[in-house]
């Protein structure tokens, strides 16, 4: 049952049409930020309103929705957004990456590789990759038009000169299809390589900044780097305490006040599936 008094998926049809047109243009110009008439949503700006508007414009009764925050399905904001769609769209939800047709995420890309036909919707706080270097929106639009990304190259070069390597560990900027500099949203740099030639469609929604952008399937996405300082994803050098994975992205959990800590998978579905397989005696 959907909540009475609101249209299917909350947004009215005219708003959905406007967002759908923006999504189509975003897909046609990979990595380019398309302004859209973002609406006030019943959740606060910065809490996923862009992703929610994108998902609301995509979702249909046959979809199966997964929502994650920090890689986990049971974080409070993921629960809140999943409940919102169950309430206003009555769609099926899942925690299984493989079973989902639409996955809305904040800060992670699932460990399980996505496949053709799936859509990954990112919640984006700041769509502009250059904003720390140039806060003026009108100026960054000009820089994108000229594909002038010298500011970012200089910043990365200065990091290397000062620190020996690039100082960014998340929200690490990428070039999409060799043309547009794009913010991957605040995912850890560890996740960046998953964006490259991903079989699933990736759509990014920034509600407060009112921008939508996209990466079509099988599109080149390169993390910015230099020949002598290649991009390196960062991951804690440890195994998951629950499933033993040495390849997944890990959360560090402080266990006491004497320096004790352990590491567990950030992706709760990936970790749970591995543990289930281990219990069944299958090779993990």
């Amino acid at each position: 049952m959907t909540e009475t008094g609101y249209n299917f998926a909350y947004l009215d049809e005219a708003t959905k049409r406007m967002i759908r047109r923006a999504i189509l243009k975003a897909v046609a110009i990979p990595g380019h930020q398309v302004p859209f008439g973002g609406r006030e949503m019943p959740l606060p700006y910065g809490w996923g309103t862009g992703g929610i508007q994108v998902t609301a414009s995509l979702i249909g009764r046959d979809d199966v929705l997964k929502v994650i925050d920090q890689g986990a399905d049971d974080t409070t904001n993921a629960v809140s957004i999943r409940r919102f769609f169950a309430r206003v769209a009555g769609v099926a939800t899942t925690e299984r990456t493989a079973a989902a047709t639409i996955i809305q995420t904040r800060h992670r890309i699932p460990e399980t590789p996505l496949r053709e036909g799936q859509i990954l919707v990112y919640q984006v706080p700041m769509p502009e990759p250059l904003f720390r270097l140039e806060p003026r929106v009108a100026e960054t639009r000009r820089l994108h038009a000229l594909a002038d990304y010298g500011l970012m190259q200089v910043k990365l070069y200065e990091d290397i000169a000062r620190l020996g390597h690039v100082g960014l560990s998340y929200n690490y900027p990428v070039m999409v299809n060799h043309r547009y500099l794009m913010s991957p949203s605040p995912i850890p740099a560890f996740d960046n390589p998953k964006m490259h030639r991903m079989p699933a469609l990736q759509v990014f929604g920034a509600g407060r900044e009112k921008r939508i952008y996209a990466v079509p399937p099988y599109t080149a996405v390169h993390s910015l780097d230099f020949e002598d300082h290649p991009f390196r994803p960062i991951r804690a050098d440890a195994r998951c305490a629950l499933c033993g994975s040495d390849a997944s992205y890990l959360d560090e959990v402080v266990t006491d006040d004497a320096g004790g800590r352990l590491f567990v998978c950030s992706d709760t579905d990936y970790c749970g599936e591995r543990q289930a397989r281990q219990r069944r005696g299958e090779a993990a």
Partner: protein
């Protein structure tokens, strides 16, 4: 005169049509189906009609060559303002020969999303032969055979590609089938 209906279930069918259009643009050259239940007035065919029911409204000036009956149908169901020239339209529907790409709004370098989307009703669409499409959305290459496009189209398309990110996106519609050519796609000859 009575108008044939639009979508029987406007919310659900607009969503399904949108996903078909999105799939077409995300996977250029792959053929999708939509609009099966529609009976728009000739020469308008179901796929193009479904695209317009899904995307057109008062915010999208529309130019078309589909004649009076289709015009009345589109006005009633979409309510788009009529564009005086193709170059002033956000959505352009060509049932006959499409207007030259260079006359349509290609957007600007700062706002390439302001460009027109061109719907062309063609005689046929088939995967597996024809053009060798490459670009975003395509793992290796997609082959697409289009029947009924004017012979100038490939050269005009290549000319437009040189202006990227400016450019018109094209939706090819045949009956209830649709395939898309987003502006960044290269049309290798078969």
């Amino acid at each position: 005169m009575t108008l044939s209906p639009g979508f029987a279930d406007p919310v659900a069918e607009a969503q399904q049509s949108f996903r078909a259009i999105l799939a077409a643009l995300s996977r250029p050259g792959r053929v999708q189906s939509l609009g099966a239940g529609l009976r728009p007035p000739a020469p308008l065919l179901p796929a193009a009609a479904a695209v317009l029911l899904t995307l057109a409204d008062a915010d999208t000036p529309l130019w078309h060559d589909a004649g009076a009956a289709a015009d009345a149908w589109l006005r009633f169901h979409c309510g788009s303002p009529a564009a005086g020239r193709p170059g002033e339209a956000r959505l352009v529907l060509a049932c006959g020969a499409p207007p030259p790409l260079s006359e349509l709004d290609a957007g600007s370098d700062e706002a390439p999303e302001d460009s027109a989307t061109l719907l062309v009703q063609v005689a046929g669409l088939a995967e597996g032969s024809g053009w060798r499409l490459t670009g975003p959305g395509i793992a290796q290459e997609h082959r697409l055979l289009v029947e009924g496009l004017p012979s100038w189209f490939p050269a005009a398309w290549e000319a437009q590609r040189r202006g990227f990110p400016r450019g018109v996106d094209v939706l090819l519609c045949a009956g209830t089938r649709i395939a898309a050519l987003p502006r960044g796609i290269a049309l290798g000859q078969g």
